[in-house]
């Protein structure tokens, strides 16, 4: 196997608070290879966005990386200074955020923002930078890119703006893209356009993409592999088809059953009882055990299961090897 573009090992993020140390991300390891889309799913508070922010070094104080290593193209980046990180962001790592309006500077034309990013990271002349900017806009499907390069962000519609953000993230030709809920603020029809665009660009350029979202449907259609997060930990990581059709972690299973599917009629949804525990108040052992229908004694006791300690896919002492019948 070739070297992965992004390699995260045992990443732990801590937030010291008055009441104690919170771990929004706790011992997470994964790789993303070139040309691969890794979907990261979880409910709010699962730590999925925090993982993305940790990789690009954009943690808000007082959150900090407490443990673990992050390698991009074989180079360790979690120990770099702010200045070095800034150079890597944009050049090697591109970022796409949920709200296209706030990730663009409203006072600069999109052309200025693109050429600025290009000249900062690539050694090109001004005219070359501009040509690349037009090409970048063209590539993300903005019609009449040459004419629209002098327009301001507010002159674009929501979907077009998100395309501009993608162009901006990709213009310096990064090898890794982190997309944090890139379609959540968009309508269904535009969401389909944007995910199709992401998929095409990933394939054409051989980028590694980390797609953070709460939408299982988007993951199913877009990702190659999926990482399911729960309470700051990885619950399950595997090829998307296997994880969705035959989940091994009871949480993944519950999530799948709870998601309403358009292909079924008015059936009763299966629900996971309760809610995700608050970070300051995690149960001992497996964080899911109070909500899990299969809990046994071992699940309640420390240490919590890790993927390495079990079968390598699900962090569960008793993974669902085949679709076990739900106890009545």
């Amino acid at each position: 196997m070739t070297n992965p573009v992004l390699s995260v090992r045992n990443l732990t993020v801590e937030i010291p608070t008055r009441t104690g140390l919170l771990k929004p991300v706790d011992g997470i390891s994964y790789d993303i290879a070139a040309g691969e889309i890794l979907g990261v799913v979880g409910e709010s508070g699962a730590g999925k966005s925090m993982t993305g922010n940790a990789v690009i070094g954009l943690l808000d104080r007082p959150a900090r990386i407490a443990k673990g290593e992050i390698h991009v193209n074989g180079r360790r980046i979690d120990t770099l200074s702010r200045k070095e990180l800034r150079q890597i962001r944009g050049k090697e790592i591109g970022m796409i955020f949920q709200d296209p309006l706030t990730s663009l500077n409203p006072l600069l034309t999109i052309g200025d923002q693109l050429t600025e990013t290009i000249s900062e990271h690539l050694d090109v002349t001004d005219s070359e930078a501009k040509a690349r900017a037009v090409r970048a806009l063209d590539e993300v499907g903005i019609p009449a890119a040459r004419d629209r390069i002098d327009a301001y962000p507010h002159q674009f519609s929501g979907g077009m703006r998100q395309r501009v953000v993608i162009a901006l993230a990709l213009c310096a030709e990064p090898s890794l893209v982190i997309a944090d809920e890139p379609t959540t603020a968009l309508d269904v029809s535009v969401q389909a356009q944007i995910t199709a665009l992401l998929k095409r660009l990933c394939r054409e350029r051989g980028m590694a993409v980390m797609l953070v979202t709460h939408d299982m449907g988007v993951i199913a259609e877009t990702a190659d592999r999926v990482a399911v997060m729960y309470a700051g930990r990885l619950a399950e990581l595997g090829p998307v088809r296997e994880v969705i059709t035959a989940p091994m972690h009871p949480y993944t299973d519950g999530l799948m059953q709870a998601t309403p599917d358009a292909s079924e009629g008015a059936t009763r949804l299966r629900q996971i009882p309760g809610a995700m525990p608050r970070l300051g108040n995690l149960p001992t052992g497996c964080a899911f055990h109070p909500r899990c229908p299969y809990t046994q004694d071992k699940c309640c006791q420390d240490p919590s299961p890790t993927r390495a300690a079990t079968d390598g896919r699900a962090a569960c002492w008793f993974p669902l090897t085949e679709r076990a019948a739900v106890p009545a």
């Binding site: 409910e43 269904v188 199913a220 309403p260 292909s263 009629g265």
Partner: protein, 327 residues
């Protein structure tokens, strides 16, 4: 249930229209010589909701679905058309007793469980407010309702910030039930919630519907949620009803090209690596909508007639469709 055959629907909406004035302030308009800008959020919408059924309104942003909801409950006056609930039109009814009666028969559940509960009030006061204001008895009411929605009676003395999003939405449901309404308008009740919690709230709503004989108008952008909950679905595009059908008919045989696009574009759990041709274009500016059928610039099968005439909502079998080309 065809429109003209529904016997005594609980809610009957005819020609409902709402126009917003989104002009700049008067002074700017005079100085900059701008015309008045009018936004037609809802235009000529008619449908019936029979008792004890769930009618769902789906559409993307700008479709006017929330505006319709607000007009149904009386938070917004219609610009034109009427809303009749139990045969009484709130806008024109003069007998205060009947207005009061209808008012307490309607309740609403809102989208944002964090903004819909007054953070300085105890849960008990929040839940019993609709009854208290009418001078009704509230003893034990909050406790009873809390247990009904799956919380505990002891929660009555707590404040909203002590609850998670899903629990707050349960409190909202309890408040909506307090005045023993017949109709509940739920505006995106689960779109702020996580999937597992969404399932809890949707199941709760289904249970309560059977238990109390409720009628729902469910407003959502999420087709999958709508399919699970609705008895009848109305699809809105730019303030107009473009198709109305039963869930099975709508999902297996969508007649309007817009509905077809929506269903095709919605991400599917079994759509591994699905390659779809993404739909073209975006929702146009509602201030200056396209001529004729508002969907024609994005429609793959549009003919010349579509840009000139506006198709009316017409009966096609079990469904109602507003498209010249629908079969």
């Amino acid at each position: 249930m065809p429109l003209d055959q529904t016997p005594d629907p609980l809610v009957s909406i005819r020609g409902l229209t709402r126009i917003f004035d989104v002009s700049k302030p008067l002074l700017n308009r005079i100085v900059e010589r701008l015309p008045k800008r009018l936004l037609t959020a809802v235009s000529d919408v008619s449908f019936d909701v029979p008792e004890r059924t769930t009618y769902a309104l789906v559409g993307e942003s700008g479709s006017g679905k929330s505006t319709i909801g607000k007009m149904v409950v009386g938070l917004l006056p219609p610009s034109d058309g009427e809303v009749e609930i139990e045969g009484i039109n709130l806008a024109s009814e003069t007998d205060p007793k009947r207005i009061d009666q209808v008012r307490s028969d309607i309740q609403m559940i809102f989208q944002d469980p964090y903004a819909s509960l007054n953070p300085r009030w105890r849960v008990r006061d929040i839940i019993t407010e609709p009854v208290r204001i009418k001078g009704g008895k509230t003893e034990g009411l909050a406790e009873r309702l809390l247990e009904q929605v799956g919380l505990s009676a002891a929660d009555a003395i707590k404040f909203p910030h002590e609850f998670s999003g899903g629990q707050r939405q349960r409190i909202c449901v309890a408040r909506a039930l307090a005045s023993e309404p017949k109709l509940i308008v739920a505006d995106e009740p689960t779109s702020a919630l996580d999937v597992s919690v969404q399932a809890q709230v949707l199941n709760l709503m289904s249970d309560l519907k059977d238990e109390f004989g409720l009628t729902y108008i469910l407003i959502s952008h999420d087709l999958t949620v709508v399919r699970h909950m609705a008895d009848r679905i109305g699809v809105l595009y730019l303030g107009r009803l473009v198709e109305e059908a039963s869930p099975d008919a709508l999902f297996t045989n969508p007649k309007h090209p817009y509905t077809q696009m929506l269903i095709e574009a919605a991400p599917r759990m079994d759509g591994f690596g699905r390659e779809i041709t993404p739909p073209e274009g975006e929702i146009p500016d509602p201030i200056s909508p396209p001529s004729g059928c508002a969907y024609h610039p994005r429609c793959p099968i549009a003919v010349e007639q579509c840009s000139k005439e506006r198709p009316q909502l017409e009966r096609k079998g079990e469904s109602r469709v507003a498209c010249f080309l629908a079969k």
